[in-house]
Symmetry: C4
Subunit: 205 residues, 4 copies
């Protein structure tokens, strides 16, 4: 299989998962004496979770492209790991809906937050596992030769990307809002302008 | 990242957002003594909002392609701005559903209309911001050299495209129907045959 | 705009519309004393409408590709007509759901059938209009030179494709089942093996 | 039609069907005195069916690419058979939802399981039929010449792929859990690392 096909299918799943997130935004049914503005305001967890998940999928898309671009050809293990990565991304509309539904509730709040950042963590683990397989056991599949040092540096940045989601998932025990804040901060951090591409910690690996 | 990948992912989100709009059209459940024709007729705001949103996504797709086609390569800021643009487009099935649900209600009508045209306005702002970044701070990323005058003219047309949505959003205070009419008029205006591409005010920027 | 971009976006809308049709298939909720087999059997209009709509979208996809392949470049009118075509295809999950919901009802049956085949008719009209614009007013956009006679023959086959849907829509007054049968027959007819591509009435135009 | 277009459209349907599976995962509504963890745990059939269906679509995508890659050009019968294959894949979000909804019920359990593995069986039959047409009646469409022996071996592997789903469907009479286990085992089997591509029973045909 060519890397083009792998990218096209992956792009499809990423674009669809991102766009399906909108189904978690509900038009409230306002009865006399209620205010649409107030009801929409109460849905702020839905809007926050939508924006954070959309941005996170966007970031993984950028990183995914950088990872696949390094490949000369694709083997069975890469295909399998990549499918695992896509499966975890396909879950995001569900975990985002869970976070949005439970953030402001007194019950289930902590578990929903753990599921939310846990799905980002799972996605990051699958990403790092795919990257590790590409860079080390199957380095001969790489398009350009990279030194051992380069490859270690790329993988280290990929693994570093797990840490915020690990922290966010652990924080779910304390506060679901803290979990949401950390996940949002990661997205904002990636969106910040960068001086040089090389100093970026995990972007473009 | 190549412009091809950027276009493929953007096309995916645009095509999915446009096609998901159909989920806002509901098959009415008609009970004895009711007429299906009558019930469907009452859903005209859904059909109008569907057609206008679909056409608007189509127009942004045409303009998006013209914008990206000018690029030689893509930098981090373009990726981020483009993700912001896609995030705003991904909201359209929600804002369209809100408009359709509230257009004929006495309560919430004005806010729903403001949200509807406001989402088009947000989309246009993200578009103009992406275009400004491409044409000015990062002009060296352009595929062909454009004179300062050309670039100013392209950006001016992009910014001009904001105006109708700004008007439509302001009109929401007065009448939700006026907002819908202005958004619809923009779509019809773009669909009109043109004598030459260059005289087009905002098409192909 | 290149024909590649036009095809990619159109393919996206077609593939999504076809796949969204599955949302019209509902898993029935069976209570004690009811049979799942019986309840699924009662949903046969949903399965029939799913299969016919999916096949019809597949056929329009094949024909769409043949039409676009003849183009050397794309102008504003082609883009607009193509968007109109995609808008009509985007409606199919809704019109299919309407047909499935009302086929076995005593009320609304005829209107739902007219809407169903009417959406296929609208799609065919948009297709023929796009084709006419490509073949005649803008023949210089064609990739290869076709004789006037060839172009007339292609257009005639495209217009001929309207006829069954016109008949099916007219039959809706008499019987919704007849409408469904005609729409299904068109799909089966296209799927039949062909001796030579040239004798095909409307396939590949 | 080029094989590229065929692949692009097929990839679209496959990616969308896989991503729509997430709509079968429901965020439970937990009332006071209930536990979110407990309610999510009760939804395990949904998660299991999601994972197995996603993986199965991924496997068919890999095999589909290997099949189409062998083609030099596409004829009408291939297009028709491929549309039949896509139609069967488009059903999977529905059959997956049926399996998830009925696995733990006392009524309808066996039928739902038969529908689930039956949809995989239908997909495999459509796949083998497409492959048979490519390899035998239309061997001149192949990109590279394959000996009669090679072609028989490829087809045999494709047909062998039917067997587990046939077994799973038969087992539905006995136990829906057994059906789910067999379908899951097929997915796990494909995901296992392989020593050489050629010894793979059905992968890459």
């Amino acid at each position: 299989m060519t890397t083009n096909r792998l990218e096209a299918f992956s792009d499809g799943v990423l674009a669809i998962a991102a766009t399906l997130l909108v189904l978690d935004l509900h038009v409230p049914n306002v009865h006399p004496g209620m205010s649409l503005a107030h009801e929409l305001g109460r849905e702020w967890p839905n809007f926050a979770a939508y924006a954070i998940s959309f941005a996170t999928i966007g970031i993984i898309w950028i990183n995914h492209h950088a990872m696949i671009r390094r490949l000369r050809e694709v083997d069975h293990t890469i295909l399998t790991l990549n499918l695992g990565l896509l499966l975890s991304i396909g879950l995001l509309p569900f975990t985002t809906a869970a976070m949005a539904a439970y953030l402001n509730r007194t019950q289930g709040q902590h578990l929903a937050a753990a599921i939310y950042s846990g799905s980002f963590l799972l996605m990051s683990i699958m990403f790092a596992a795919t990257q590790r397989h590409i860079l080390f056991p199957k380095a001969h599949l790489l398009a350009a030769s990279l030194t051992e040092q380069d490859r270690r540096a790329i993988l280290r940045r990929g693994v570093t990307g797990l840490v915020p989601y690990l922290v966010a998932t652990a924080l779910a025990i304390v506060s679901a809002y803290a979990t949401l804040a950390v996940c949002g901060a990661v997205a904002v951090f990636y969106a910040l302008p960068r001086t040089t591409a090389d100093t970026a910690p995990t972007r473009h690996e």
